[in-house]
């Protein structure tokens, strides 16, 4: 046995290795520049985009923009109702999608039997991600506005938007949960933990950064979407901030859409200023999630 061992072992001869480390390192360095260049390109493109907004919008930023209702006079025009509408829509749909999406992701990853049905749901969810937003608007129009008699109200908008961003939350949460090493689950089950205890105490904390990324992306999408709310909300001008789930509402992108469609150039600048406000508000709303993610991702490394 040992003679066979040695004869086969002798086939490993040093001469056959050509490690060429420095060449490989050079390739690596080139790629590093490619990666860096891509990141820089992304930042530059996005910087140009920002600049195309901030340039014309900067001088039009004012308190009035935040506190006034819309007006046909650009100097007086504000988007207070739209800001409140957007905040309610984003928070409402964010919370709803977070609960439903995380629940779905947990069910599919931790509870459901792996198999055809699971695959089908998976395909179905990715497919929902590709359904144009206007179709969600149609869905909301039929189901929430008409069938459930909610009318064109904030709550219908929230629910429609929640369905729209749900796939993003589900898919990102699922991937985050899937990336948690199985040994962690074994450790927990081995101590006599129930499924939920395992999920709640170990899987979710480890997966939390990824889940939060999904929430951040989802909220970003919710705040920028126009089409579905055009269908479900339909408003182009609301002078009052929403005062309950059943009030009519306006959102920032619709206000921006409305303004960009006006003939007066001032409104275009106002729209640009409104976009700046939108991004600041988005950043403020996301900052909680970003901070949490920062916190959790520093903690959980294995």
């Amino acid at each position: 046995m040992s003679s066979e061992l040695i004869s086969s072992a002798s086939q490993i001869s040093k001469a056959e290795y050509q490690p060429r480390v420095s060449a490989r390192q050079t390739i690596g360095r080139i790629w590093r520049w490619v990666f860096f260049g891509s990141t820089a390109l992304a930042i530059v493109l996005l910087g140009m985009l920002l600049w195309s907004v901030i340039g014309p919008g900067w001088n039009w930023l004012s308190w009035g923009l935040i506190t006034n209702p819309p007006s046909r006079f650009p100097e007086k025009a504000g988007m207070n109702p739209a800001i409140w509408g957007s905040i309610w829509i984003v928070l409402g749909s964010g919370v709803a999608a977070f609960i439903m999406g995380l629940g779905t992701a947990i069910y599919l990853e931790e509870y459901a039997e792996k198999g055809r049905f699971n695959d089908f749901i998976q395909t179905n969810i990715s497919n929902l991600a590709g359904v144009p937003s206007i179709v969600y608007g149609l869905l909301g129009l039929v189901v929430f506005v008409d069938l459930m008699h909610m009318g064109r109200t904030l709550i219908a908008g929230v629910l429609t938007m929640a369905l729209l961003i749900l796939p993003v939350v589900v898919i990102s949460s699922r991937e985050a949960i899937r990336a948690v090493p199985p040994s962690l689950r074994e450790a927990s089950y081995g101590l006599g933990a129930t499924k939920w205890q395992t999920v709640w105490n170990h899987v979710l904390p480890s997966a939390f950064p990824g889940i939060l990324t999904g929430i951040i992306l989802a909220m970003s999408r919710a705040i920028g979407e126009t089409a579905p709310l055009l269908v479900v909300g339909g408003a182009s001008q609301v002078l009052w901030r929403p005062d309950g789930p059943f009030s009519t509402f306006m959102v920032m992108p619709l206000q921006i859409y409305n303004w960009t469609g006006r003939p007066h150039e001032e409104f275009e600048h106002l729209a640009a200023a409104a976009i700046i406000v939108l991004m600041i508000i988005l950043l403020l709303m996301n900052s909680v999630a970003i901070g949490l993610r920062q916190h959790f991702s520093r903690k959980a490394r294995w």
């Binding site: 891509s38 992304a42 189901v143 993003v168 859409y257 996301n286």
Partner: protein, 324 residues
């Protein structure tokens, strides 16, 4: 030692009952059903969408034969009389072409940025750049549309392609790509970072360079998450409405002034989503075939994305690596 060990004395173990405690099991069951209820939402959403689309599209297909719809090469549903034709191919091609351009921008740049952020950038840079990219995912898409129209086309593309049209599929595709890129970058970055350190150690320990470790161990181990981010990005590109409505123009490729081919990215190029959104909030009277055509298009788009997702799922299943 025995004094400190008292907490461990098994003096009061509960009586044996392998069936488990009723209360706990019930709460576990409640949780389970709540989770099932959550996942039914997505199923119901799909059913709802299919139901609505089928119901309304039936009105359309009652007037227009499916086969003509699928194979016709002229798309002029909103014109009157004999000029009205319902050949969907041009806008299908428009959707595919703009999405393809978008994918060619969003996927490689997004993945490369994700790799840079996860594997090369320091913690500070990462913690700043990632949220910045994500906020840009929140810019209303109409802004991207105008960015394409007023910046990408005249400033970037015009010098390269002198006879590019004001509206063109290319700039719209690029803008969609830019818009979808943060999704790829952000989600892929998470996936890459979730790869356990022990795997990187294994690769480095064998004399791999950082790039080899990244490209041949970390990325394959994270492929599931990366593909998921791709799917989301491509889905978003296919479903994007406002950008194409503004920047790609509203006449199907091959049907506007200067261009000849359905595949001409240099000129106006309508997409399926652009058509749906535009027609829905237009002055077209409800109940006409022209109006119902939007549901026919939406149904077809739904079927197309479904097929695409089936294919991508089949592919990922084959290449997924489980770790730990």
């Amino acid at each position: 030692m025995s004094s400190t060990a008292t907490p461990l004395r098994p003096d009061n173990r509960p009586p044996l009952n392998l069936m488990g405690k009723r209360g706990r099991q019930r709460s576990e069951e409640v949780i389970r059903y709540a989770l099932i209820a959550c996942s039914l939402v997505t199923l119901l959403t799909t059913l709802g969408i299919i139901g609505i689309l089928l119901f309304e599209a039936a009105n359309f297909f009652a007037d227009i034969p499916v086969w003509d719809f699928l194979t016709g090469r002229t798309w002029t549903p909103l014109f009157a009389g004999t000029q009205q034709e319902f050949g969907v191919l041009p806008i299908v091609v428009g959707t595919l072409m703009t999405s393809l351009v978008a994918a060619c921008i969003a996927l490689p740049i997004g993945l490369a940025a994700a790799i840079y952020l996860s594997e090369f950038a320091n913690e500070r840079a990462r913690s700043v750049l990632k949220p910045v990219l994500e906020v840009l995912a929140g810019v209303p898409t109409i802004v991207y549309g105008f960015f394409a129209l007023t910046f990408i086309t005249p400033v970037i593309l015009k010098p390269i392609f002198p006879d590019i049209g004001t509206f063109n599929g290319l700039s719209a595709g690029i803008a969609i790509g830019i818009m979808a890129m943060p999704t790829v970058a952000s989600l892929s970055e998470d996936a890459l970072r979730a790869v356990p350190r022990s795997l990187r150690e294994a690769a480095y320990g064998l004399g791999a360079t950082k790039f080899e470790t990244t490209a041949r161990v970390v990325v394959p181990a994270a492929v599931s998450g990366i593909v998921a981010s791709f799917i989301l990005a491509v889905s978003r590109a296919v479903g994007e409405t406002m950008i194409v409505a503004v920047a790609a123009g509203q006449s199907p490729a091959g049907q506007s002034g200067a261009s000849g081919s359905m595949f001409d990215l240099m000129h106006s190029m309508q997409t399926m989503t652009g058509f749906i959104a535009y027609t829905f909030s237009s002055d077209v009277a409800r109940g006409t075939t022209a109006f119902y055509s939007l549901f026919g298009v939406a149904l077809l788009l739904f079927i197309m994305t479904f097929a695409m997702n089936l294919a991508s799922q089949w592919v990922t299943k084959r290449y997924r690596e489980e770790y730990d």
